[in-house]
Subunit: 314 residues, 6 copies
């Protein structure tokens, strides 16, 4: 397999395709404009400067474009920087496409869909089942393509569904161990808890926060949606309130964005399972980048800790 941009060392020559993640124009101290391009493939990102950029360059090299770059890996302020020797837009004959350059969940979309369908099928409480099924259908497209976050954990295409997939598996096991758990409620909570992100984020690739996301946030958005759907389906009864509570409390604490802490067993479990899967996703990806006997970079979402990979790991 072709090496990704993250695998190149300082001093090596790079000559392959990359996706422009962001592009910005500045004026250099000599008064001439230049472009700052953040280039990426599925393994990582690299900064680069295109000096003395023409008007045409500016129009060709925009966010979301695929380019072929020839250059050398240099270093600027302790971070790698790609020194561009030549750059051109991708051509149809190149045989590459944008989706090859964007990170995706390691599980196939079909498997994600199957697992969610299966979980809904297992439910016995008709109210919970109908509401959950309705949402999956209503947002089918976004449900299986959105990331779970802008950064931190599951921040890749289908990350949201991948997160739900893993959480459903953990929930199933815990149900075996603690038979008191109401599986229907826990499954419904897992499937719906982060669905408000479909309105909080702007899209499935390179998402940013929407105005609704910034001013309301995915938790109250989803509480509101559950109410709307319940009315639409003419479902009344405590299940609606309890399901809204599952969503509203899943961050665990007021300081973390939940105006009510978990006050139902399955709500507490939902919070715990959410944390475990988010942390494992973050940790595994960080540890993959270091060798045995090394520490990772500081991980922002884990209190800035840096984790050690024991030297006796194979």
């Amino acid at each position: 397999m072709k090496r990704g941009i993250a695998q190149y060392q300082v001093g090596e020559v790079f000559d392959y395709f990359l996706l422009i993640k962001t592009a910005a124009k500045s004026v250099a101290s000599n008064g001439k404009p230049f472009l700052t391009l953040l280039l990426k493939d599925t393994t990582g990102e690299i900064d680069s400067k295109l000096w003395e950029a023409t008007q045409e360059d500016e129009e060709l090299f925009k966010q979301g474009e695929l380019v072929k770059v020839h250059g050398e890996i240099g270093q600027f302020r302790n971070r790698p920087q790609l020194k561009i020797h030549s750059i051109r837009p991708v051509q149809s004959t190149d045989g590459v496409q944008v989706s090859d350059f964007i990170e995706k969940a390691p599980v196939q979309k079909e498997d994600l869909m199957e697992r969610v369908t299966e979980a809904i099928f297992e439910m016995k409480n008709a109210n919970l089942q109908r509401i959950t099924r309705h949402f999956v259908k209503k947002y089918q497209e976004e449900f299986f393509t959105y990331p779970a976050a802008v950064r931190n954990h599951h921040n890749y295409v289908s990350g949201l569904a991948h997160h739900i997939f893993s959480m459903l598996n953990i929930a199933q096991q815990l149900k075996n161990m603690y038979p008191e758990i109401n599986k229907d409620l826990l499954y419904a909570g897992i499937i719906l808890h982060d669905l408000g992100k479909i309105k909080e984020l702007s899209g499935s690739t390179s998402p940013s926060y929407t105005l609704e996301g910034k001013l309301i946030g995915h938790i109250p958005i989803m509480v509101e949606e559950i109410q709307t759907v319940a009315k639409e389906l003419q479902i009344e009864g405590e299940e609606v309130t309890v399901l809204q509570h599952m969503v509203i409390s899943h961050h665990g604490k007021a300081e973390w964005g939940s105006p009510k802490p978990p006050l139902i067993r399955e709500a507490e479990l939902l919070h715990q399972i959410d944390m475990i899967d988010a942390q494992m996703n973050t940790l595994n990806r960080a540890l993959k980048k270091v060798g045995p006997g090394e520490f990772t970079e500081r991980i922002y979402s884990l209190d800035q800790r840096t984790f050690y990979k024991p030297s006796f790991e194979e």
Copy 2:
């Protein structure tokens, strides 16, 4: 005017009507049942015990009943206690009614309604105006009878509307001083911010928290209601999101129950005005009970502080 229960001293004889706020049955150390009655009028409350209570007593003296009591003010663990000599249910010939024994807002319902109507009338933004008017109409009965809280501030009949009334007046003055303020937005925020309490609390007198109140809370309830009403009125546009933000952020901080802090000028102001009116209501009622040169009891909602009334106050 007849003295209220709060004005009696230890040792005095009391012989008048009172409302039973709560009633509970216990078994004394001699094995005989007795009733613990919390009795009240508009000036305050007093504990009392009805010893050796019969089955009939138990049925007569329940929460919400008016009674005529003859007894003496005693003291138990530093708190006054009414020693009942005789007690009987109120009769139609007594000429008293429950509403005479319940604290109400010091402003007439008609004045409260007029002020709210006037504020809505002043609005120029049609979207904000229509949503606000719709709510006032939809919940007309509760809007003008509910308290603003179970305890702390404005915890009396029509307390919610009284709180809104005062806040609208403060807002009007601030608009004069800071012309940049968007009055429509601020008025709409003030009128709607606490309306979720109509679902959070069980009723206008002696309210307790509903299940929805405990598991969801008045803030997300109201965010959801605004969305529903906007859809009903077919209103789209940023006003809806911004109005939801006004509600969601009005507690000011995540720790205080707002999943988003105020991010709009009028939202910040709404939070400040809410605090001022709540604190003035609490403080004025506490200071009314002490004389110049004295300190109040500790006030729970004001960080347990005890306030001083200067001796040079008239």
Copy 3:
């Protein structure tokens, strides 16, 4: 099955055996001595007073003794109190024994032992395996009889092993889902993390804190023991330090007693699994005491929250 003390209502007559959990002598206001006995069976506890206690009573009715009590369930300050009519020490012919009155893990000791043995058997890293096996052997008796805590979670006979049993099961499932996990390390951490409690607590029934427990605590005690055992077994290598880290960091944060936060993936997981099992144990026992549609008492170890059992639970 015979009703336990927790199932009796105020006013009922009780006439059966109970275990004296604590016994204290006081002097009544009439100058005569009396005994305050806290009596228990596996369902709960009840306070009682033995008035005008003789010197002989004082010697007969001590902590740890089984007694036959005839009395009536009364009430004192909102808590049930057993009014003793007569009381006598248990006789050999009564056919009851202390162990019938003490709460135990719901899983048999043999099953607990088998699960731990199986987990150790699965380990492939010889250093981790030898250290873990050594500890289980060294403290075999205490390992399978100690509680996991004085109060809160798993505070019953064999609670420590029961806690480890559940955690091993969760770990096994998570390993299936996250293959990156080092199972040997996680299993060893689970089996050893709380073993310092054997020195922190005074015994398997009615435990109190030892001086070592109060001044040092189970975490540093266990870190020290791992070092000692490693030396004894002549094991050197990073496994020893890493295993000590698993123990030292398992409370998750400095404020919760871990001088180092988890800095290894399996240490973070150990902390999470510990929390889940502790909370589920606490929650399930609290929810068992209430019916659908009711809230539990405030739970100290869960931030004083009170949990709701939905009315649609069967």
Copy 4:
């Protein structure tokens, strides 16, 4: 009206007068000295470098001097920077003066004085009135020229008096709504609360902190001054202590610099009014810089929040 420095875009030519806010000499990598000048007018500030500065340049271009600059607006690290083509000191024939380049309160000094005088005139408590009048007279010059802060809110000439002016207006309105308020006390508190800043800050333009400001702070400085003035005027009585309390508690909490929290109704109000006016001043100035549908920069004194200007604002 002439455009201010804040209205220029990158790439434009600037050719007008500016005030040197700070000037610093450094040595460039080529060993030659250069000057870093922070230049300003009433609309904002801009950085600039004067390369290869001579000994004479250094003497001419000092803090506080007015200069005529010809140059181009460039950009350095995402911030605008003025590239100086030529620079010269202002001449008497230029017809500009320093005060034209310094931000001032939007209310005339005479109006500020009148409002304060009026408020003092309204007071009925002779002790409070005499103390307040004495201070205004004693510090007449500073009272009406000092800023209220080095940065954040009202950080411009006459900012202190402007802040007092607005607070008096708010207080007057609140008195109408809450007649229990002791207006004399509240007015005296408002007029005096920040007066210690006259000793805390070094002057009315470009102020820095004095040694007394750094080691003691404006709150204790003012408490001390009130005592001194009261002695001078031979005023005794609770008003002195209560007025000192108004000052000492006006930051609201120990963490915010008030060794005592407000323990008097008017002290609590003073704190609230202070916050409202400070925040409105900060917010209005930040929102003025952005258009509808945009967010402001992060505002340090408002918990680093960034505020949104709704797109339906005219």
Copy 5:
């Protein structure tokens, strides 16, 4: 030596003199008045009830009176209570006086005065010396009789001077070890730091907080006094500001009542020495009450910790 009240056991008969610390009248459940007397000598305090108190009793047995009591040590809610058999006011022939019943510093007043005088004498900086000497002279009486606190540490007659005495000794030793210390400044800070308590507290025995103490607090009171004295002595110069800073920062943190943290080496040291002496005083008095191998009661001012006296202590 006669046994003190703290040395009596439950069941013993007491027959000696005690001082009435507080006296309060209540009405018993039988409607008859009784007195609650808190009685004390230098070893401790005990509660007692005088049942069926007459009007005359009420006038005789007031706070501050010495009485002869005959009674028995009983117990009420786990605390000792003195059951009064007979009680009478002290007579001139009894040969006891109030001062024998009040706890005093263990060092003689003369020695305290000498040590302070000596420290002032050692100072070389005339400004610091004159200000310090002036204060000691001005408040000579209170300086050597006031306690350092209402409760916690040095809460006995001459406690303030005793605290200063110990702190001066520690300071002298530290000066030997760290010659960089400015001894004059540290000595002046120690002697003056708590002197505001003379106005914060109501007197040298059984002190309560004055209004000034409650509304202003001893720290700002003293800052103000230093300024006044400096003016009186016509001392100008940085010593005044620095000395005020020593006082204002001696609690170490804003949350602990210091609006400025220590920003001068000697201010930091003053805070440390203050803490050491306060804690040693508290700890030594708590540990004196328990035997080797025992824990003290929870100590409020030391974060509610309970301290252990090792069993190998002689």
Copy 6:
């Protein structure tokens, strides 16, 4: 005496020996490698760049090497930078050695040893004495050469012993003032409290954290060592547990790394003495760098405070 690197001003020529503290290779924007050298002597450190470094340069100029440098003091981003004109490795004929360039404790090693030996000699409790003596002997070399920290206080050769030396002196004085102190326990605690740093840090000069230091930390390491030594010496008894407690609690609070807070008088004192000596060491070194009337740089370990040196200091 020769001026140290910290005494040079920008613009001056430097021509003397320096020690390479760290060396790193980078690639310049022109593609050529350069070395970043951090150079030091006992007075301080300075950054420098060696442009266009050859392969040979890279091998010659490594961490720990002594070099002769000729260059000029320039400035880069407000920090001094040494512009190297020429550089060469030290030669045997230069007559300088590494130890001349490394900061050391201001007290001679012999005096440090003598003081510790004397303290141990004074102990009367045989258990405490034997354990303490054993440690000093076991780690004799490291005990008298290790620093007490990587940065902050006593971060120089023999800093650990110097810290112990000062603390023993303070303890001796406090014992004189508070005779209740158990001197043996306090001395043993002082001598052993930081000894775990010998395993936490990598060496006596330019130390970094070891894996054991990062994952376990010096406190639990030392608790474990005390147990091991006690077993080795066959010492049993409470002294061992109490001594472990002294070590475990010496940081004072859980948040600061002590899983148990001090629960013994001498443990509390140990914490206080540790703080005083650490702060005095930090403060004295920071204040030495500024003149009277100036403030120091922000001191990280003292809450980022900046300290003032009064202008009346000689």
